[in-house]
């Protein structure tokens, strides 16, 4: 019973922050709320005794991805949404459609999952060691694929970032008070 209360509290926390992340006006607030929602997710994992996944969620999402979002918010021009503007994108229909499709796909996958129909055995927490072993043996191919994908993404990011460098640099402005001596005529 206390576990269930905790679950509902955490779920409320997560959903509330996720909603706040979508509705708040200031982008930085949204980013911080998103980080809080990520932390809520991590708590749900922890409540499920999935220590490794929970901490990885914290480390990756709160520690890295949220920071990246914040960075992106700061580095781009933070044009604030005007207070009266209710709908920020004209193509909202398409977006809703995409969201519904994704939700449907995930719901189908979850509903079809066999684990839904049996209760988790008590003490089924996966020790870190076993996760590691599984990753290194049974799931080695997906792991390697993810690694290759991430490396490719990294290289792509580097290439994109490097393009600025190859462009001809603007000549450094040399400001010298001596370059054009302004003759001042003193009249008496």
């Amino acid at each position: 019973m206390p576990g269930e209360i905790a679950f509902y509290l955490i779920a409320l926390f997560t959903v509330a922050f996720a909603a706040a992340a979508m509705t708040l006006r200031r982008l930085v607030h949204c980013a911080l709320c998103a980080a809080a929602a990520f932390a809520g997710l991590a708590m749900i994992y922890l409540q499920l005794d999935a220590e490794f996944v929970g901490f990885a969620q914290l480390l990756v999402y709160v520690g890295a991805i949220a920071i990246l979002i914040v960075f992106a918010v700061l580095l781009t021009r933070g044009d604030e949404v005007a207070p009266g503007n209710k709908q920020s994108s004209p193509s909202w229909m398409a977006e809703v459609a995409v969201a519904v499709l994704v939700l449907a796909a995930m719901a189908i996958a979850i509903l079809r999952s066999p684990s839904l129909h049996r209760l988790a055995s008590p003490g089924a927490a996966a020790p870190v060691k076993r996760i590691g072993e599984e990753l290194m043996t049974r799931y080695i191919l997906p792991l390697e694929m993810v690694g290759v994908l991430l490396t490719g993404a990294l290289l792509g990011a580097v290439v994109i970032a490097m393009r600025d460098e190859s462009e001809p640099k603007q000549p450094e402005r040399v400001v010298s008070h001596l370059s054009d001596p302004k003759e001042e005529v003193v009249s008496r």
Partner: protein
Amino acid sequence: MIAPPEIQSPVAAGSLNHDLLEVAMGPHHPSTHGVFRMNVVLDGETVVKLTPVFGYLHRNHEKIAEKNSYLASIPYTDRLDYICSMTNNWAYVLSVEKLTGLAVPERAEYIRVLVAELTRLFNHACLAGFLLQDMGALGTPMMYAFREREKILDLFESLTGSRMMCNYMRFGGCRCDFPEGWLEQAATVVAGFDSFLDHFEALLNGNEILCARCQGVGLLPAGLAVNAGVTGPGLRASGVNYDIRKVDQYGIYNRFNFRVPLGRRGDVFDRYMMRILEMRESVKILGQALHDIPAGPILDAKAKLRNLRPKPGEAYGRIESPKGELGFYLISDGGPAPYRYRVRPPSLVNLTVLEDMCLGHTIADVVIILGSIDIVLGEVDR
């Protein structure tokens, strides 16, 4: 009724939405060496524009001197570059001596060289300390420099009665002779300074962080330095051989055997090293002066302190102060006060190249470039 101006947050409202960030560094900023302000325009952390704003410490020095007698201006010169009061005194009395044609007894000339080189020692040591403080070294080198400075200030106190505002030199000589044992004490301090420098250099010179921070930062090309009138170690770091002690040979500097170190690149590191190397040379000069100092009077018999009325005319006296060429330009109309009294402060003139040195560097570099120029706001703003 005028509506109150709408207060907007500086970050959200204006600057961040543009690419450039305008920051007013100073007058309340930890590393502007006094009340100095730099209006910096930043692109990220890179400086694209820098406007020095000074005058916060203006004390009307020149006009006060035009009201006071010649003698009464000497204590005011102490307060120009308040670290090096002795050299300020010297530059001023030198120009009055030129104006009046007074001679200086030999012993007084030696005393002047002694105190001026001692001043150069602690000024340069403190500068290195301040520079490292600006670099974030928590003042450790500065404290070591201050430790040595205390010893020199003790000497100054027993000689002149005051540690910093010495008010020591007079037209045609000096105010008072050494107290007993002063020369021996000075010899001890000078003898200890070389080992202090060894330890100081061991602490700093090879430090990788210092090298990385200073080398290639704040380049000052020799041409620009000459055109802008930069003098002192900053000019010599750019490779220009110009030391007024050698050029003018004022006082008795032709009697001493010393060299003028020259840099090759003109960056912050070279300017820092110029100070270190010049300290070594100053120690040499001090050794020779302490050895050769003759007995005799310290004030010219014809010297007249009170009620001095030089013949109408003008004079410009200049010396190599630790910060560069310090000159006093005086016009006398025969009255008890100079008709025109003008200071040529090295700090101010050296400061004019600040923007040229800073452009393209980051905000962290601005601080150390400013530190390497070695300004004292008392002299800049006068």
